[in-house]
Amino acid sequence: MKGFYVLLAVVCLGGVGWLAYSAYKKPAAGLGPEEPVPVAAADGFRGYTLGSDSARIEITEYSDFECPFCAAFATVQMPVIRPQLIETGKVRWRFRDFPLSLHKYSRTAALAAQCAGEQGKFWQMHDQLFGHHAWAQTDKDPSGLFRSFAESSAVNLPQYDACMASKRYAGRIQASLEEGQARAIQGTPSFFVDGRHYEGHPTSDAFQALVDSLSAARRKR
């Protein structure tokens, strides 16, 4: 019985020590120094947005449609962020393409989203591309699948086909990539909150806390 109590004490001390250490080591999830925003080349397009133009906070996401972390963010976090922050008018969300060179079909996917966006269906296509992300693991040309996503998104297919064939928005995607590179983005997804690099965890709770603290700070001014 004595051995049992010794073990109990060891587990207890270990657990309490671990919790105390974890709480003490809490990192400050916050923003980096303010950086100038490069002006996108090509047609000057600055990315599709969600939310009110009058929202006082803007979050810019640099994302790659083939990136699994971006897909996880889009399918797990965004469904919470949309009603909590975007639809409440607190935040305007801006999407920027950052197709990584290691991904074979990122640019095709970005192009498909832009071609759907030309018809006002960017976010529907965004949701299709991230919501059915198995295409990113097959290494097969997903062009036909993207076309079916476009069809599901109620996109006019002849117009979509012409847009894809001419790579109409390739320059726009390249400009977005260069904009991200100029901001020293290391990976995707990356976020900027009102122009400042967000270095915390990309979770809905973290964004909610950050937006609340920014809003409170502005009210005090």
Binding site: V11, L19, K26, P27, A28, A209
Partner: protein, 140 residues
């Protein structure tokens, strides 16, 4: 029999600390989960990290705390030969085990992310469940 109940108490205490760790992260006391992958935060930040309006980790805290308390009570001389504590432990462990199965299915097939702390908790509750069920069967 006392060895089994001691093992259950130790496992429940370890599970309690895991659940506490995840709950303290959820409420913002701990800022970063040491997980070794993105899985823990993906799972913790998902809509499935809550159940009936409360964090899932809080159910774990309460569940393991009750299991720990009952297993300690079951070791008192008066309770060692009684069947009641054995059945109570088995019932509690079965509830926890069923909830863990549900959460594991959600992780694997809905969220598509694995939280290593949740796996640790799943191993603990499964072991507790196996110990309690074997205890009840021996008394039949």
């Amino acid at each position: 029999m006392i060895r089994r109940r001691q093992a259950i108490a130790l496992l429940a205490l370890a599970g309690l600390f895991i659940a506490l760790y995840l709950w303290l992260y959820r409420i913002g006391v701990i800022g970063e989960l040491r997980c070794g992958s993105e899985g823990c935060e993906t799972v913790q930040a998902s809509r499935y990290a809550g159940f009936l309006g409360l964090p899932v980790a809080l159910y774990g805290v309460v569940g393991y705390a009750v299991l720990f308390a009952v297993s300690l009570a079951a070791m008192t001389p008066g309770n060692l030969t009684r069947r009641g504590p054995e059945v109570a432990l088995a019932a509690l462990a079965s509830l926890g085990f069923a909830f863990t199965v549900y959460l594991t299915v959600v992780e694997l097939f809905v969220i598509h992310a694995i939280c290593r702390w949740c796996v640790g908790s799943a191993v603990i509750i499964t072991t507790i469940w196996a110990l309690t069920v074997s205890g009840v069967r021996r008394r039949l």
